[in-house]
Symmetry: C2
Subunit: 416 residues, 2 copies
């Protein structure tokens, strides 16, 4: 059988049409927070497209929407090969994050269908509720519930930043469905996504074969020193929470560089009290975001940070306490699927590299229940969660064609 | 003539009575922001005491109140020997800061008067408007206008943090007086004040003979980097404004320690944007407070900080700009008066050390126009601008007796 290729104009047309829903004036971006009216309008548009392709629609109790396509020779008793992502966005988001993975899935179905071909396994394309976590925590909520990582009842009671409840909002927008949670286990799960980082662009590589998702460790560190007059207090008599915060901030980067590999470390938040030019700070609160694909190294980073704080606490006679804000173990994707992503990229003459994902994705939830992998395409300037998020048509086409080959390989193709 | 000693019960009685005005419930502290009703009530109380002592009251255009005592043998054509301080407080202040210097002045007058003695020079006790700067900037406003450092009309138009104007508030509380600004030049000016720092207590010394006030350099440093995802952005591709802020904070202390002497350096204020746990900060704003009694060394500190920022800016490819928020040259007090403070302390068997003031005081304004010095007494735990500010009766007595000997020496004493 000849190699099939997706229709990039058709795919970009759908991306453009979906981006009009909740469009942010004067930008390419859009705003469709989970379960808002804009999200509902986007959902209805995608479902229309699914129906136009002859897909069966299942909506489950948390509002995940799974469209399943059965070709003329599909064995409906076999598990689906599933792809998908999310269509909710952050408050000021781009048009590619999530949406690309969903609409590329539809494009895969249409590409196969228009050639009169039929998969052996059903092909499912899903979009999952509240991946961004911008309105309801945790992020990746819908896929977490799909795989059984969180009970439906608990999920429905989650309260959002605006005081609303997930269950009530699902009912309000008419997306609390009847399909069961957890949902059916797919044969495999694939997700095409923009990188949301700068690596592919910087290295001029077309495809990222994502082999893992970084483990995440978020710690809030509170330093209690002594408020003093910045003029009258000799340096050696200070217990300066602000200075200690500076030392910790400096150390977190040194730590990441010393551990090396894909270890990253960030202090993104610092708050001093009283935060005045002429007062030695009595109190500082800062956060350390540590990530690594290797849990042992992540634990080493956590331990070294804790030891550094202990030493500083003693040296400066300040009280340092810490609180874990979040801790996720790294996720490893399926080796064999990752190798296939590399193989198909090369067969399409596309440059490819194995890489890790620094951000969380719905695919990492599916990795708990079935063979899973992800395909990354470049993000211009590494920008995401931003209306200026951009991936070129050619890059989208490349990634979608890799997804297409993978889906064909996994679903098995016959002449219809 | 026998050595005279002040009456500590009488002085502490007045301190206590004044502290009832604007008292903060459940604490020893009080709240009398400049030109508020509480400040006005405090002013009227002190004026009552001045009148009871037979002092002439002069209120000038900025609301400074100068009580002058002429004994029976005083030559009224001679310039006054002046002491004083302020009675306004920060919003949650202590009972000693400022008030001690004013009420010790009254105690000096009463001690001399009750012995039937008369000074050759008039003795003046002043309290100066808005020393704290908590409601109206700049601080030391009244003494600045008294010495001609700021024109009266400009001062009257200053707007406060609550949108009020100095001139209107002076009229409202009936303290816009007729005495001229600038005011008469005293023969000498002395100010007794709590240290507001920890040095005297830590070294177990009774009296600080203040020989200088530190020069102050406040710089606001703004770092513009690039906002990035804390998970997806490799360490070497970051332009992290938060990390740069940490490095600068760390450097400011290193700088102070390297320059040594009485150089101090503080980063008391840090603000990151967007200040989120999982976002590399795009922007950081921080302040550097550098102080030294030696202006050359202070300039060296400023230059080295600027160079450090330039190097970091290049190394990290971030934009660093700085803005001078305040710059005051160091003030040197009168050598001969400082030596007298040391001499009288020793004659009273009190431990004494020459020291610098890290905080600003009304005395530094008078240093522009007449021989000036200050006497410091210990502050428990170095605390000030705090209801827990504390100096013991014995420490107050010691300092007031040194002030008394100094005033006698300068004014010249005769039997009345």
């Amino acid at each position: 059988m000849d190699t099939l290729y997706i229709n990039i104009e058709r795919l970009c047309g759908r991306l453009d049409e979906l981006a009009q829903v909740g469009a942010i004036d004067g930008t390419m971006g859009c705003s469709r927070l989970a379960l808002t009216d804009e999200d509902a309008e986007g959902r209805r548009l995608v479902i229309t497209w699914m129906r136009d392709l002859g897909m069966d629609i299942a909506i489950d109790g948390i509002g995940n929407v799974i469209g399943t396509w059965y070709g003329s020779k599909t064995d409906q008793t076999l598990p689906s090969v599933m792809t998908g992502s999310h269509i909710d966005t952050v408050r000021t988001g781009g048009r590619f994050d999530g949406n690309l993975g969903v609409l590329a899935g539809l494009e895969v179905v249409e590409t196969i269908a228009e050639r009169g071909l039929s998969p052996a396994h059903p092909i499912s394309v899903g979009f999952f509720t509240g991946e961004e976590g911008s309105r309801y925590a945790p992020d990746m909520l819908g896929s977490l519930v799909y795989v059984g990582g969180l009970g439906l009842e608990s999920a429905l009671h989650i309260e959002g930043i605006d005081g609303t409840k997930v269950g009530k909002e699902l009912e309000r927008i008419d997306f609390r469905g009847q399909a069961p949670c957890p949902g059916p286990v797919p044969k495999a799960f694939l997700e095409l996504h923009i990188e949301q980082g700068p690596v592919l662009e910087a290295e001029n590589i077309s495809i990222g074969a994502v082999d893992s998702v970084q483990g995440i460790s978020w710690t809030q560190i509170t330093i209690e020193g002594q408020s003093n007059h910045a003029g009258t207090t000799p340096m050696q008599m200070r217990h300066d929470a602000g200075w200690v915060a500076g030392e910790v901030t400096s150390f977190v980067r040194r730590l990441a560089n010393e551990i090396g590999g894909n270890q990253v470390g960030t202090v993104g938040k610092i708050d001093l009290v009283p935060n005045l030019v002429n007062v030695v700070a009595s109190r500082a609160t800062l956060t350390a975001d540590l990530r690594n694909t290797d849990d042992e190294r992540l634990k080493e980073a956590e331990l070294r940070l804790a030891n550094f704080c202990d030493d500083l606490s003693e040296q400066e006679d300040v009280r340092i306490t810490s609180e874990i804000l979040a801790r996720f173990e790294p996720v490893k994707f399926d080796d064999s699927l990752v190798r296939e992503v590399i193989k198909f990229s090369k067969s399409l003459k596309l440059s490819v590299k194995s890489m890790t994902s620094g951000a969380g994705h719905d695919a990492q939830m599916f990795a708990r229940i079935c063979p899973t992998a992800m395909i990354f395409v470049p993000s211009k300037n590494g920008l995401s969660h931003n209306p200026d998020e951009f991936t070129s048509q050619e890059e989208i086409e490349n990634g979608s064609n890799v997804l297409l080959q993978m889906m064909i390989q996994l679903a098995g193709l016959n002449h219809g």
